[in-house]
């Protein structure tokens, strides 16, 4: 508990260099408790809003289900197009399911984490400790951390029976961000890599469709000389291409959002113990805005 309080104090004292008012409070210890408490009570909750926004927008981005759902289905569509052989083998199907599972594991971790960070920053604490348990379980399930490690993580991050002041909460946010950052970064890298693989698969699908479906149909249309058939083939091919482009745009949006989350989180972890809290919050706002742009770019 003392360690956590010290961490929280460091966060507040970090502001002293930029805040003559708070430095004056430091010189008069007796008065300092009352004044600092007043400052925290009146300004604390509002000040953490950028972190809460960052987390809630990250939660929206990481919950996008389209890629994980569609990834295994591409092989079935390739078969429908007439693709045979190793590209659609049982081995390939098993590999695709594994990748889809890896994607879901990474998404689950990032979602659980974003939820915990959001609850802590928004002062929505009733479920916070349970959320940490869920997060730790997802880290173990996805092999991002060993069970022996997550015990220590929980000790650092959980609220327990602490004094529910804003100062204490800031200290907890610092602990949460720095403790979990390595696992978050690995989950981000894994997610990005699987989404890259999905994008390759969409290219495969487009190439196979062009060759085996649209290409053959065009040849048949020329041969049969049926009125309207070439146009029908062109429209169907254009629709299919657009469908794949939309899926690709969504996957790229997910990827961009996760990258922004990872980068923003890394910067928070790098700066939260050293920069002023004001700068940390400004950073959180910057990345929250980037995430909002990503959310708006998803095709609904």
């Amino acid at each position: 508990m003392k360690r956590e309080f010290d961490a929280a104090s460091e966060v507040l004292l970090g502001q002293c260099s930029n805040s003559p008012g708070l430095c004056a409070v430091r010189r008069r210890p007796l008065l300092s408790g009352i004044v600092a408490a007043s400052l925290i009570v009146t300004a604390g909750c509002t000040n953490l809003k950028p972190v809460a926004d960052f987390a809630s927008k990250a939660s929206v981005v990481t919950s996008y289900p389209g890629v994980a759902k569609d990834y295994p289905l591409i092989l079935a569509r390739l078969k429908l197009c007439g693709e045979r052989g190793s590209a659609v083998s049982d081995e390939k199907a098993a590999e695709r399911l594994r990748d889809s599972k890896r994607l879901l594991e990474a998404q689950t971790v990032l979602q659980a984490y974003a939820k915990a960070l959001g609850e802590l920053a928004a002062d929505d604490l009733p479920n916070y400790d349970h959320q940490i348990d869920a997060l730790n379980q997802s880290l173990v399930d996805g092999k991002f951390a060993a069970a022996s490690d997550t015990g220590n993580y929980a000790q650092a991050a959980k609220f327990g029976l602490g004094i529910f002041t804003d100062l204490y909460r800031r200290g907890k946010i610092q602990k949460l961000i720095t403790t979990y950052n390595p696992s978050i970064q690995k989950a981000v890298a894994q997610l990005l890599q699987v989404v890259d693989g999905y994008l390759v698969s969409l290219s495969d699908e487009q190439i196979v469709y062009n060759q085996l479906v649209a290409g053959r149909s065009r040849k048949a249309a020329e041969f049969l000389k049926l009125e309207g058939f070439p146009e029908f083939v062109s429209v169907a091919a254009a629709d299919h291409a657009q469908l794949l482009l939309d899926r690709e745009a969504n996957a790229r949006a997910l990827s961009r959002g996760i990258k922004a989350f990872g980068q923003g989180h890394q910067e928070l972890a790098d700066n939260i113990g050293t920069a002023s809290f004001k700068e940390v919050l400004a950073n959180a706002t910057k990345y929250a805005e980037q995430l909002q742009t990503v959310i708006e770019s998803f095709n609904r």
Partner: protein, 130 residues
Amino acid sequence: MSEISGADALDLAKRYKQAATNLGQYQLDNWESLTTDQRRLLTDEEYTLLDNSQNLVTYAVGVLLDDAQASLDKIKQATDEANKAIQTVADFKKVLGIATALVTLAAAITAGNPGGIASAVGDLGDAVAA
């Protein structure tokens, strides 16, 4: 001289997406030995390759190639070898060098510069052989 068709551009784009995937896999495979800055560099390069794949589909169609210097087959062969190397090489600097050479090649293709393409294909080969 030959011209890059829509199908060729799609095929090249797929190779660039594959390169991004391989770079991501390299990062995961070597996670513990990479520094935070090295990971960041790899992620940025992974992203640039993905952007390149999109640019190739958009801008490469219709680009003229000097077949004597760098035909489409030579470009495909060079990108395939680069992809294989990223999957097998352990050295961070070499992997990053290959990725950078791939990025330069994509830029030359989308700029429609036959001389630049030939030079970039050569540089990519050098990066793989280094």
